[in-house]
Amino acid sequence: MGFLAAGLGAGIVAIGAGLGIGMIGKSAVESIARQPEASGDIRGAMILTAAFIEGVALFGAIVCVLLALNITV
């Protein structure tokens, strides 16, 4: 049961994080295409936002690891 939950959880986390980072990438590339001279600032903001999303996704991933390894905290 724990394994099933961990697998499903990891999948859902990947969906969420993928959607989020994909949207960041989409808008960043669009903005760079529109304004190539601002690409440095946009890249910084992109990495910052991606880091926030990644952090949330990794919370989920860690919970999944704990479930799969059957560790009780």
């Binding site: 990495i47 910052l48 880091a51 991933a61 690891v65």
Partner: protein
Amino acid sequence: MIYLIRRTLILLLFVSFTSFLTYAADPVEGEEPVIDVMGKVVDHEYFEIFNTKIYLPRIFRAGGQWYVFSNTKSALKSGEFEKVDGALVRTDGEPITLDMSITSHLLYVWFGILFALCITLWASSRYKKGVGRTTEPKGISLNLFEVFFVFIRDQIAKEYIDKKNYAKFVPYLFSVFMMISFLNLFGLLPWGVSATADLTVTATLAGITFFITQFNGSKDHWQHVFAFPGVHPLMRIILTPVEILGLFTKPFALAIRLFANMLSGKILIICILGLIFIFADIFGVVIGASSGVVWVALTSALYILKAFIALLQAYIFTLLSAVFIGMAVEEHHHDDHHSPAELDEAGAGV
């Protein structure tokens, strides 16, 4: 080019062949070989190099008394302690309440600090002599140092912290960047351990950021926490707890992010190499060992990715630290978004 590809393929074949040899040569008497995934990641009481384990001193407190042993074995030999489920317990059943032992992760943190210290001291001695200030920086090392330092100062500190007092935080940001980079990169060495894959290490680093943030918080920072300006007083009943919670979730997320990134990289590599043994179990040793070519190639690619991620995570930790410090030290100009009445209440010109 073809020569390079051929050499790479021979190398890969050789690597997968040696993995086959170690698997075949390992005599298993009646039990399945178990790969201890978490055992490779968690902290140990020994420092491993060239397949030899150097046992480190144990310092701990049990039953209101301090004990110091040169290693775990001598603690067991003294007869006062015994091993229960892998943990030391006093023979009369008193557990260890405070463990201050020197562990492999702690040792690697010290190495990281030492490396960062040596490099910065060396660079500062060069700058004191005038190299790089009155003349151009000489040599690859000094130029590389300057690239990193100027990057941290201009792209991170100056960008996200108030123009007036960013200089105060550059030393912290630069040293934390250097240290985390080294700690992450140590994990790529053979027998190496990345200490940042330990929540206690990252939590300590995030804690330092938290204290620096709070001690340098401006009047506006605290006003936004306890009495958010420009909203109805009743709204503050909801906003104040949220803001107080927000103070703690920021460093918490900082610690978890670094820890989870480093841990997941390690687990991923162990899992992919473990596929060799899973394939060997299902399809036989020959197919398992020859599929190793694929997995070893994949692991090599992941290693390159990990080397990149090591620096990226150090950058992200430094960047977010700078953002949080910048948010706290910033002094708002209240006239842009608050009513004049609020301005008088808060003391005009803050």
